[in-house]
């Protein structure tokens, strides 16, 4: 989906748990996430810290969208 949306001209930031899949399918701006059952969270953390973690990932996604790139890039 990431690739097809980009094909139509809209940049996509892909936050995903398995970056190798994202690379294989051809996403261009890739942000590695936490874990498969909770990519944007971590149930082991206290709620405040968990939210901070999620916030950090979403900020990375926004930064990725603001960053000019020439090729597939992982924003870790």
């Amino acid at each position: 989906m990431a690739k097809e949306i980009e094909r139509a001209g809209i940049p996509v930031a892909h936050i995903c748990s398995i970056i190798t899949i994202s690379q294989t399918v051809g996403a261009n701006r890739i942000i590695p996430a936490v874990a498969i059952p909770h990519p944007l969270g971590n149930p082991k953390l206290p709620p405040e810290e968990e939210k901070a973690l999620r916030r950090n990932l979403m900020k990375k996604a926004l930064t990725a969208l603001l960053t000019p790139i020439q090729e597939q890039t992982v924003f870790s």
Binding site: A13, H14, P37, R54, L65, T67
Partner: protein, 356 residues
Amino acid sequence: MAEVSRNGKYRIVHYLNQFFGGVGGEEKADCKPFAIKGPQGPGRLLEKLFREENVDVEIVATIVCGDSYFAENQESVLREWIRPIREYRPDLVVAGPAFNAGRYGIACGAICSSMESLGIPAVTGMYKENPGVDQYRKTVLIVETANIVSGMEDAVRKMVRLGVKRLRGEEIEFPGAEGCFEQGIRRNYLHAEPAWRRAIDMLLRKMDGKPFETEYPIPFFDRVEPRPALRNLKGMTIALITSGGVVPIGNPDHIESSSASKYGKYSLEGLATADARTHQSAHGGYDTTYVNADPNRVLPIDVFRELEQETGFKPYPWYYATVGNGTSVDNAQKFAKDIVVDLIRDGVQAVILTST
């Protein structure tokens, strides 16, 4: 050629995920790797079919690992397990078959690839759309399987035929004849017919509308150039999409838990966050306990709203969700092409896509 072990049998180590290894389903996908003596699940069929080919094998050990655990700890699993696998002195390592299970396919590919680089022959099997195929086809012999488990016997049979050749050090034929994916290796050989005759035959078949096979397939790389970055966030419309299956409670569009044939479009208007009363996951490919307790863990509505306030971007008032679990590439492309019509019409300038 592989050395036959002391009792005259070829030694095989078999890799399986938690499901085929008999540990459990998705709720056990975080299971750490362990070894069992002898065959397990499909390993029994593997031994049986090797014997039908008159090749005496013994699965000396089965390594089992949860799909999520492998995906999240690939480097450490490989680092810690390559030595133990070698210590079994396998003549052949077999992984899977993984069918259309993405994490499993990548695990099988990674295990086989590590073995091949140590000079230990390895064989695995996957469905053509498994992401493990593209990633490992060049370094690993992967037989083509069906996308569902009912294709087990056929898949194992193909793996066995290829495995026999690898054990005996026999030449591997063209991928089509072996039933495996092309590795992109070009090899010179003397054809009985000269090139001009083959070319004319091919042309005649083409003109007659008959099937013909090119001798030089053109590699197809479907890449999309990265789109230009946004200059700033203020006033930009950004949409949220997820393949993690987060839908309003009750799954109103009945999106399938695997092999999804549809996606949903749901309102974000007036939502400051998502919780267990408003949203749930329809995904059948991961343990949904954590996301059902707090859907923001997959669809981060809470933080999306906060960042909207801070950076001044405009959230698109809808989000889109589907289940990325064995979903065909064709369907995923179709969903995206549909969604893009909305996005372009409504002036969406960027997308954040979350995947499990």
